[in-house]
């Protein structure tokens, strides 16, 4: 028999029948895995919820809580649903097994267990999990966590939908001259430190950093996953960005290094979101008047000499503790109508 190499994994065997538990554990231990057991569904779910396991072998027919109920509970949990579950059952329970696989079980095995099939199914499930984890990690590096999860859940397709959300643009003031006057390695390092700081401020407020263009960034609030207070969250993220930058500049100043100054423009309203590009190379982004307005407002921060400016619709979504200055009505390039904008003074 060929012995496919596999990493030792932590497995949970849930079965009310002692002979089954013993035989399954023995097979799996001989295959190099670490095994724990549970005698009924309830105990199994409790142990599995610890998040310590790479895979669960779950009997269907059990007292207290049957395998079907355990499976359903695991699939409802965003973390547990990532861990493969293999159903084990008697041959004549195939109807129930089919139901479990349709519901989301990774695979199934009939009892008595055939050790060769057991090895193959467990290893295949662990391998699939490993690939999925890797894919998720990769997605999260290049897309945001939210976009990654949506991609994994619904798959990729070009095209958009209309939503109401908030867009935030941020840009570093006179970055070109900063870049010209220092070593490229140092510039990249400076940018990376800057972005990591801004990302934290944005994601802490449920925002999604969508694009980075040179020294600029675009973040969305309320899309791809909608939440009611997207306007407030965006403004709080903007304030947090400025606060973090202030600390950053203090450190830079102490070390005699370059300080950064930014402008942030925020606008809310209807926009089209979705994947644009080609089948091979695409990004999740947003387009529309609202997005253009946020961009224009960001540019206007230079002229207005205020780092954080928002439009009127964003203002309407803010609680009283956020202090604003009315900057009046401004006619932006490419717009016919004047737009009332506000400078955010602080919380």
């Amino acid at each position: 028999m060929s012995q496919p190499s596999s990493e030792p994994a932590r497995l949970l065997v849930v079965d009310d029948n002692k002979v089954n538990r013993m035989a399954l554990s023995r097979h799996l231990e001989l295959q190099g895995h670490m095994v724990e057991t549970a005698e009924n569904g309830k105990e199994g779910l409790e142990k599995f919820s610890s998040g310590m396991f790479d895979l669960m072998l779950l009997d269907i027919e059990m007292p207290v809580m049957n395998g079907f109920e355990v499976l359903a509970a695991c699939l409802k949990d965003p973390e547990l649903r990532q861990i493969p579950i293999i159903m084990t059952s008697a041959m004549e329970e195939l109807d129930a097994v089919v139901k479990c696989v349709e519901l989301g079980a990774e695979d199934y095995l009939t009892k008595p267990i055939n050790p060769i099939l057991l090895r193959a199914r467990v290893n295949a499930s662990l391998e699939k999990k490993r690939l999925r984890d890797e894919q998720r990690k990769l997605f999260r590096t290049f897309a945001t966590k939210e976009v990654a999860e949506e991609l994994l859940r619904t798959g990729f397709s070009l095209g958009g939908k209309q939503v109401t959300a908030t867009v935030l643009f941020a840009d570093i003031r006179s970055f070109t001259s900063i870049a010209e006057n220092q070593d490229p390695v140092e510039t990249i390092d400076l940018l990376n430190r800057y972005f990591s700081m801004m990302f934290d401020a944005i994601t802490d407020n449920n925002g999604t950093v969508n694009q980075m263009m040179g020294d600029g960034l675009l973040a969305m609030f309320g899309a791809p996953i909608f939440f009611e207070d997207h306007r407030e969250k965006a403004v709080r993220a903007g304030l947090k960005m400025l606060e973090r930058l202030k600390e950053f500049n203090q450190e830079q100043c102490e070390q005699g290094k370059t300080q950064l100054h930014i402008g942030i423009g925020i606008a809310s309203g209807k926009m089209t979101v979705g994947y644009t590009g080609t089948q091979n190379r695409a990004i999740y982004t947003c387009i529309g008047d609202t997005v253009n307005l946020a961009d224009r407002i960001e540019e206007y921060t230079k002229e207005a000499l205020h780092p954080l400016i928002i439009d009127n619709y964003t203002r309407e979504g803010l609680p009283d503790d956020i202090k604003l200055d009315d900057l009046g009505r401004i006619i932006f390039k490419g717009k016919n109508q004047a737009v009332n904008v506000f400078a955010v003074r602080g919380e």
């Binding site: 002692k18 089954n20 035989a23 097979h27 008697a90 008595p112 050790p115």
Partner: protein, 110 residues
């Protein structure tokens, strides 16, 4: 005539090891006595769920060792439990006899 499907039994023995299978057989014997007792009590109490479950476990274990005849007797009782049918006649006695024969054979193989 052998009561065990020797292919199944040997496969189990070879894949789990001699010492382990002795322990596993012991557990099967102990649990079978409990399961048959549960079935008897469940009939008297008209408790179809307990009856069915005990028969199900006995069937499962019999299959593990390749005791196909014993397994099909247990399975028949499991189905009756599923249908709430307690008219088991002498099936429990037949089951017990089948178990004793399997026990004898497995003890010799042990």
């Amino acid at each position: 005539m052998t009561l065990l499907d020797m292919n199944t039994f040997n496969e189990l023995k070879e894949s789990t090891g001699e010492d382990f299978i002795k322990e596993l057989i012991g557990t099967f014997f102990d649990d079978a006595v409990v399961q048959m007792n549960e079935m008897k009590i469940a009939i008297a109490a008209k408790d179809a769920e307990t009856f069915r479950r005990a028969a199900h476990s006995l069937k499962s274990n019999a299959n593990t060792f390749g005791a196909t005849e014993l397994a099909s007797l247990a399975r028949e009782l499991e189905m009756m439990g599923r249908e709430n049918n307690f008219e088991v006649g002498n099936r429990l006695e037949v089951l017990k006899e089948a178990f004793e024969s399997v026990k004898k054979e497995l003890s010799e193989l042990r």
